[in-house]
């Protein structure tokens, strides 16, 4: 699939550092929790915040590389949100399979009245993905719109989808 002048693989290659950033925060959160760090510090290394920041950085990156079409930033958002949710789901699934608890499977982050990890995983794959994609896309488009007005890049095709 090609969106704008970029194929899906190009998007992934472009966003590789941001995937790495999210993964690093995810790993840090796991480690901090496992090491018994205070709750406030664990909360600071938030994968959700890392995901949101990555979307912002992706838009800025694409804008300045003159790849900043609305459709491109939406694709980037989908990929980043998908990656974020995938990492969270992996951690929950790992806890469920091995019985070794981690921060992502902790009771305080699990859905109420749910038995087992499956509803939690499904929650992330439905609500998490849906919310992230919709709100993240809105955020990315708003950021791109603002960027085009405040920091226009030469030869930018204004208003292109």
């Amino acid at each position: 699939m090609t969106v704008g002048s970029l194929g899906l693989r190009d998007h992934v290659r472009l966003l590789a550092p941001l995937f790495a950033l999210i993964a690093a925060v995810w790993a840090l959160r796991l480690v901090l929790h496992a090491a018994g760090a205070p709750r406030a510090i664990v909360r600071l290394s938030s994968v959700t915040v890392a995901g949101a920041v990555s979307v912002l950085l992706a838009v800025v990156l694409m804008h300045f590389r003159r790849l900043g079409r609305y459709s491109n930033v939406i694709v980037a958002t989908i990929l980043l949100v998908f990656w974020t949710q995938l990492l969270i789901v992996l951690a929950i699934a790992f806890a469920a399979v091995t019985g070794v608890q981690n921060v992502f499977a902790a009771a305080e982050y699990s859905p109420p009245h749910a038995s087992g990890a499956l509803p939690h995983i499904v929650g992330h794959l439905t609500f998490g993905l849906g919310f992230g994609i919709l709100v993240g896309s809105a955020m990315a488009c708003l950021t791109l719109w603002t960027l085009r007005r405040l920091v226009p890049v030469e030869s930018e095709r204004q208003g292109s989808f």
């Binding site: 699990s110 609500f127 993905l129 849906g130 950021t143």
Partner: protein
């Protein structure tokens, strides 16, 4: 079109997922995610606005520096237009200076030896200040130098200069006041035209005499006629030609330096070298205003020496 369909489809799918999973996560997750995305967007937009402001500030600083460099270069070019040394023969000694109010000046002075031993000198003040006045000044400088060497009659020279200035400044209605003098050392006679310029001060044998023959400022009317005045001068006589920036220098209370004060000052230092008189006059005018000068100050001093007639 296909892209739009893809993206719309994905967004619709996301909406459906959101609906299906509405009860599967904690309420706090909704709040956390919402705040994360909204906060990040707000910070991002603020950062962009800040970046824009800084970029514009940098650009305007750059532009200012460029313009300053241009003005400095224009100032250097203009300084090169003023005579670097004055003619030593002909029976007149000179000293002159121009102090611009804004880097470059609309005032002009010149001293040039003519072919038959005569010496011409001029001081002009272009209306307005800054770059436009400086451009006109350089044009006036070039045309006057050409005319002075080809036209023998000062009145005719000023008429031609007037017509030229009128033609190039219409419809901007710019003009210039000018005092033009031609000194003939053989008969110690000064022929002059005063085109609306502040009256020069004459000290010595002709003290009190008004050098007011001439006509209107140059460039005001197309066909102005200029009368020529004649003044015989004796050794030691001094002519003080100045721009209105000198006499109109004002105290913070609004009192002008004035011609009377200028004349008294020059008379008191008449025996001193001209460069010394020049230094004293400009220093006094600057001290009088007590602040940064608001108009260009130009002063041209000429004194009759005994040399020319003895040579004849």
């Amino acid at each position: 079109m296909r892209e739009k369909a893809y993206v719309s489809g994905v967004l619709l799918g996301a909406g459906l997922l959101l609906y299906l999973g509405r009860d599967l996560l904690t309420r706090s997750a909704l709040l956390t995610w919402g705040l994360s995305f909204a906060g990040t967007t707000a910070v991002g937009i603020l950062a962009m606005a800040l970046y824009r402001v800084l970029a514009e500030l940098r650009a305007s600083r750059h532009e200012l520096a460029r313009k300053e460099a241009e003005v400095n270069f224009a100032f250097e070019v203009q300084q090169a237009l003023f005579p670097r040394q004055f003619p030593s023969k002909g029976g007149l000694e000179f000293a002159a200076v121009c102090q611009p109010a804004r880097g470059i000046s609309g005032d002009y002075y010149d001293v040039l030896p003519l072919s038959d031993g005569r010496v011409a000198f001029a001081l002009a003040d272009i209306s307005g200040k800054g770059i436009s006045a400086a451009i006109l000044m350089s044009n006036l400088h070039a045309v006057l130098r050409t005319l002075a060497r080809t036209v023998r009659m000062p009145g005719q020279l000023c008429s031609q200069l007037n017509r030229h200035l009128y033609e190039i400044t219409q419809p901007a209605a710019k003009f210039a006041t000018l005092f033009y003098g031609e000194w003939n050392g053989a008969d110690r006679q000064l022929s002059y035209v005063n085109a609306g310029h502040p009256l020069p001060i004459l000290l010595g044998s002709g003290r009190g005499r008004r050098l007011d023959r001439g006509g209107p400022p140059l460039g005001l009317f197309l066909d102005s006629e200029y009368q020529v005045g004649q003044v015989p001068l004796q050794p030691g006589d001094t002519i003080v030609v100045y721009s209105d920036g000198v006499t109109e220098a004002e105290t913070p209370q609004g009192e002008s330096f004035g011609e009377a004060r200028l004349e008294t000052l020059v008379a008191a230092h008449r025996e001193n070298p001209l460069s010394e008189i020049q230094r004293v006059v400009l220093g006094a005018a600057r001290d009088w205003s007590g602040q940064e000068i608001v108009d260009d100050m130009t002063l041209l001093l000429a004194r009759v020496t005994g040399a020319a007639k003895e040579v004849q």
